[in-house]
Subunit: 214 residues, 2 copies
DNA sequence: GGGGTTTCAGAACGCACGGTCTGATTTTAG
DNA sequence: CTAAAATCAGACCGTGCGTTCTGAAACCCC
């Protein structure tokens, strides 16, 4: 029984040819099933049995690939947010000017949410609902670092006069709130059209920061 | 054993003099205890036993005043949002011009969240986490009507040229997102200072809507 | 002060869930 | 082909919860 910790740096695939294959396939399958389950019945009804049903696996077999339900859900969350972060980072890195970087950030963020709405919605549902053993919610623990990029963009923009000066924490929170609204929309209706929202979000936040509209 | 459905239209108070008193006191006590419990341990750890402990009541006695746990939590939610709605409505009704009305709306909203942060945070936690028997979350069901006032302000402002034209749904969602950010802040830290946020929120949304800053 | 009602506390029940155990079946390797 | 390992499925167990049951105080009106 092996689980977790997919691979150490030097990992000869020779001695684990197909088992490693089936294991990664099962993990992928289970994470996808968990996404579907959480989106359909919500976090606190997403039991292992329900997740397994959608993956065509009995719940006891899940323990073979994930050490616990929490490990499965947390991997789902990490995967979804990592992908979002990479999308945004890639889009931003092509620009120098603060306004352009913010525009790229927002557009990439919304595009990613639009394209990966199921994974994002499930991850947010989990982050909001899940509690560790001592009762602390996830969205309270993880908050630094995630906003680092946005914070640096806004700080730079304020220093070079592109944006109005205001407390960085406030500005970051406001911009994030507007962008996160897209997530709320797809949570409410998984088939919602984000076209209008995506078209107006960037001008909206640029105006709010005191930058030129276009 | 009576619970729920406070009163039919013609309900002589003569035959329920002191029992009604103790009953309302207990209900108040239990709702307050539920707020504290949800804020301290989160929704899904807020058991009836835990709520009762904070109210000095055994869980079995709770059923005497609330027909179910769900009824208790839903009354908490309704009470908190009704109070918020009344605060905002009272503040807005004193103004005619759209910009002034929006400013009053936002300031009253944030002031109420600041002053009643515990009740608001608990209500939001419940709305986000609670699922009915068929699995539908609360924040999906209740969405009309709550935004009616804000929508009417924004619509009027756009028609009379105070705000830039954009889809009303998008504009409402954005403004709400910025205001709701205050709730997220107090959820993360119940003792957070909302001063900076309150000071910048109104100019922020007014700029974003294309209205003059001051 | 006694009968009925209201109020409450503790015990007990039923249920759902996560996790584990026990075999059976399949896959892999020599 | 066969033995060992991997994989899987159903049954089982412990826990925590909401709810209900049982009975005992407290209170009220006469």
């Amino acid at each position: 029984m092996r689980s977790e910790t997919p691979a150490s740096p030097g990992d000869p695939p020779a001695e684990t040819p197909s088992r490693s294959f089936i294991e990664t396939a099962r993990r992928r399958q289970l994470i996808d099933a968990a996404v579907a389950t959480v989106n359909e019945v919500g976090y606190h009804r997403a039991s292992l049995a329900e997740i397994g049903k959608r993956a065509g696996i009995v719940k006891s077999a899940i323990g073979y690939y994930f050490s616990s339900k929490e490990a499965l859900l947390l991997e789902l969350v990490q995967e979804a947010f990592t992908a979002l972060g990479e999308s945004v980072l890639g889009a931003v890195s092509g620009h120098e000017q603060a306004t352009a970087r913010l525009r790229a950030y927002a557009e990439a963020y919304l595009a990613h949410v639009d394209a990966h709405r199921h994974a994002i919605a499930a991850a947010v549902e989990i982050v909001v609902s899940h509690r560790t053993a001592d009762g602390t919610p996830l969205y309270l623990v993880e908050n630094e670092e995630d906003t680092a990029l946005l914070r640096s963009i806004l700080t730079a923009g304020m220093e070079q006069g592109s944006f109005l000066r205001m407390p960085i924490k406030v500005a970051t929170g406001f911009v994030e709130s507007v962008l996160d609204h897209a997530i709320t929309v797809v949570q409410r209706d998984p088939r919602a059209d984000l076209g209008d929202l995506r078209a107006h979000a960037v001008p909206f936040v640029l105006r709010s920061l005191g930058a030129g509209d276009e």
